[in-house]
């Protein structure tokens, strides 16, 4: 959704055919997401409700849940990811063919949530690149559908033809230790000091 200048610039750089082809490919991709459900805890139940007839993600073309990562292009990490499960989750992500996207569903998957403990991954972005974070404990199915629509908007902005021409491995390369970087930034925030009273509790 850029300005007219941006459109002209894109047209000038890549030409009419390439940009139209981008739009066409993106249209196909975003309206036919094939989710791989990684239901790890209670979020998985809400995810099932999302697939069912009441919320019905078939309206958005994502009803074909695949339990094989080879056939999926959207990984929905729904629930608490433990360190023991982390290797499995990463393997599933690696087995998915490109292009692929990831939705982190719920606070446990996004940040570890209330499980600030030794056995839980403090945010699935410590081991995977994540496109959309959906907060909630668990999030309602319509919140995840909203996340899916935002992902569709994001897919619209992709440039598959350009990526095809160029080496897109650099674009796709996920920075190792990204989640850890975020965690270190979070730790830089002063922690709650019980002696400091209520004021520091708000600033936290």
């Amino acid at each position: 959704m850029g300005s007219l200048d941006a459109v002209h610039k894109t047209l000038a750089e890549e030409g009419f055919l390439a940009t139209r082809l981008d739009t066409f490919v993106n249209w196909g991709r975003k309206n036919s997401l094939w989710p791989m459900p990684l239901g790890l805890s209670c979020c998985g139940i809400e995810m099932m409700a999302m697939v069912g007839p009441r919320y019905d993600i078939a309206r958005f073309g994502a009803e074909a849940l695949r339990f094989s990562p080879r056939q999926a292009d959207l990984l929905i990490v729904a629930g608490t990811l433990t360190w023991k499960m982390a290797e499995v989750a990463r393997t599933i992500y690696d087995q998915m063919p490109d292009p692929k996207w990831v939705i982190s569903m719920g606070v446990c998957a996004s940040t570890g949530g209330m499980y600030d403990t030794y056995s839980v991954v403090q945010g699935v972005d410590m081991i995977l690149p994540v496109d959309i974070y959906v907060p909630g404990c668990p999030p309602r199915p319509d919140a995840v559908i909203d996340g899916m629509l935002k992902l569709q908007k994001r897919i619209e902005l992709e440039r598959p033809v350009k990526n095809l021409m160029e080496d897109r491995s650099a674009d796709n390369e996920w920075i190792e230790g990204h989640g850890e970087m975020i965690r270190q930034e979070n730790q830089a925030v002063p922690q709650h000091d019980p002696s400091a009273g209520v004021a520091s509790d708000e600033s936290r």
Partner: protein, 178 residues
């Protein structure tokens, strides 16, 4: 469980010759304390004579790292059993007198205790003598620490170390193939 007197009578008949003392319990369950060296004999008698068919709990309580001398041991072992035929329960306490606690295994008597003992080993580091295949149940197998001990910080000690080792190995393999 409410009628403790019948349980006491039955158990004291079954456990003649065993050394134990009866503790008070707030929930009304018959509670015995036994020396760790004699725990195995008592539990054997409990299995043979007293018709406690089900082992419902194997766990320990860590009373803190500062308690390490003989008269104030650190780990308190707890077993709980249920009798279906008599509809009552019993609890056995025993001090494991070491920083590296050792307790007798009852997995050969109650096979359901196999997992309970593995979990107790996983969380407290209690070695169950006689247990075949005593390995970690919930934590990754190469993990070095025992999470439910009092000296373990609640945010963990390098919880991601094993994942990182796995990840590094995997990346090297991928690099080698490409």
């Amino acid at each position: 469980m409410n009628d403790q007197s019948s349980t006491t009578e039955r158990v004291s008949c079954g456990l003649t010759g065993q050394k134990y003392e009866t503790l008070e319990s707030r929930d009304g369950m018959l509670t015995l304390r036994v020396e760790i060296t004699e725990a195995r004999a008592l539990l054997l008698a409990l299995h043979k004579e007293c018709a406690f068919e089900i082992n419902t709990l194997v766990t320990a309580v860590d009373h803190g790292i500062e308690r390490e001398d003989e008269d104030k041991p650190r780990f308190d072992m707890i077993w709980q059993f249920q009798s279906v035929s008599h509809a009552d329960r019993i609890r056995i306490h025993s001090w494991a007198k070491s920083q590296e606690p050792v307790a007798p295994s009852i997995a050969d008597l109650w096979s359901g205790a196999t997992y309970g003992e593995r979990e107790c080993f996983d969380m407290f580091g209690v070695i169950f003598e006689g247990h075949e295949g005593l390995k970690r149940l919930l934590m990754p197998e190469a993990y070095d620490h025992f999470p439910l001990r009092k000296d373990f910080p609640h945010q963990g000690i390098e919880p991601d170390r094993l994942y990182k080792a796995w990840d590094r190995e995997r990346r090297q393999e991928e690099g080698g193939e490409a």
